[in-house]
């Protein structure tokens, strides 16, 4: 005789949203990807003959301008934390404003980086001209690609929040990816630019 089910099974609250867990695993893989790039950069740089590790024509990487861009990116991360807390308190309108601000700051970072790239390219620095140039465009470009994807995620989250249809899991997932983009940048900046 089959056993009858008595009542409904107790509802279980998810300890970690599936999207966040998936994103964490993806971020772990991405960290290893960037670690591989930085490792190759470090070893190649350490083995390069003196004076060979430079850009052609005496061009130097724009470290000062990029410091400003880095501050913009960090501010974006801080504003996203504010959006998180506003959302948890149920202040959707304020959360949407903070989320939009974080997205705009992130987009500004990518655009400012693009402006610096344009300056370097116009001075003849390409991936083919030097090893440093190749590594620079590869590592910084890969980060910019990640930043652009994360900005799209944040933008979609903002749009859905405005329409009142933002699942918490989606926001946390996009947020996790953006924190990764923000957190890995200082490592790249201090390793590549100096």
């Amino acid at each position: 005789m089959p056993m009858a089910l008595v009542g409904e099974p107790p509802k279980r609250r998810a300890a970690v949203p599936s999207g966040v867990l998936g994103m964490l695993l993806f971020v772990a893989a991405e960290v290893m990807f960037f670690a591989g790039l930085i490792s190759a950069f470090t070893i190649t740089r350490a083995g390069a003959p003196p004076l060979a590790w430079s850009l052609p024509g005496g061009v130097v990487l724009p470290a000062v301008e990029t410091a400003f861009n880095s501050i913009v990116l960090m501010m974006s991360g801080v504003v996203l934390v504010v959006a998180h807390w506003r959302l948890r308190r149920g202040e959707d309108a304020k959360a949407a404003r903070a989320l939009l601000a974080a997205t705009i700051l992130g987009a500004a970072f990518v655009l400012l980086q693009g402006r610096e790239w344009w300056g370097l390219l116009s001075r003849g620095v390409t991936m083919q001209t030097s090893t440093l140039g190749a590594f620079f465009y590869l590592i910084v470009g890969t980060h910019a690609l990640h930043a652009a994807c994360a900005i799209v995620g944040l933008g979609v989250a903002w749009w859905r929040l405005r329409r009142g249809a933002l699942p918490a899991g989606f926001f946390y997932t996009a947020e996790t990816f953006w924190y990764f983009v923000v957190a890995i940048w200082p490592v790249i900046y201090f390793r590549v630019y100096f």
Partner: protein, 94 residues
């Protein structure tokens, strides 16, 4: 048997190269002073996956524990809020 094994082991130990690299890739270091780079990057790439996965697993463990505690607290709150049979009977008699 043990003595012979010991002698062979000692012979191998003395016949071994004077220096051996514990780091498997440090031998690739060129004439420049980049041995430290190989060593540092090997350490970093070895420690990172362990650290990341350990961190994620620890965080998931903590979240799960918190969720279980919250569920238990909710269950006990409901149990204390619901009237017992005896209390319900008393209410019915009144």
């Amino acid at each position: 048997m043990v003595f012979r094994t010991l002698v062979v082991a000692l012979a191998l130990l003395f016949a071994a190269p004077a220096s051996a690299l514990a780091c498997p890739v440090c031998g690739l270091a060129g004439p420049g002073n980049n041995g430290w780079a190989y060593l540092a990057m090997t350490l970093m790439l070895s420690a990172l996956p362990v650290g990341i996965l350990g961190g994620v697993l620890f965080w998931v463990y903590r979240r799960t524990k918190e969720a279980e505690e919250a569920a238990e607290a909710e269950q006990s709150r409901r149990a204390s809020a619901a009237p017992t049979r005896r209390q319900a009977g008393v209410e019915a008699v009144r």
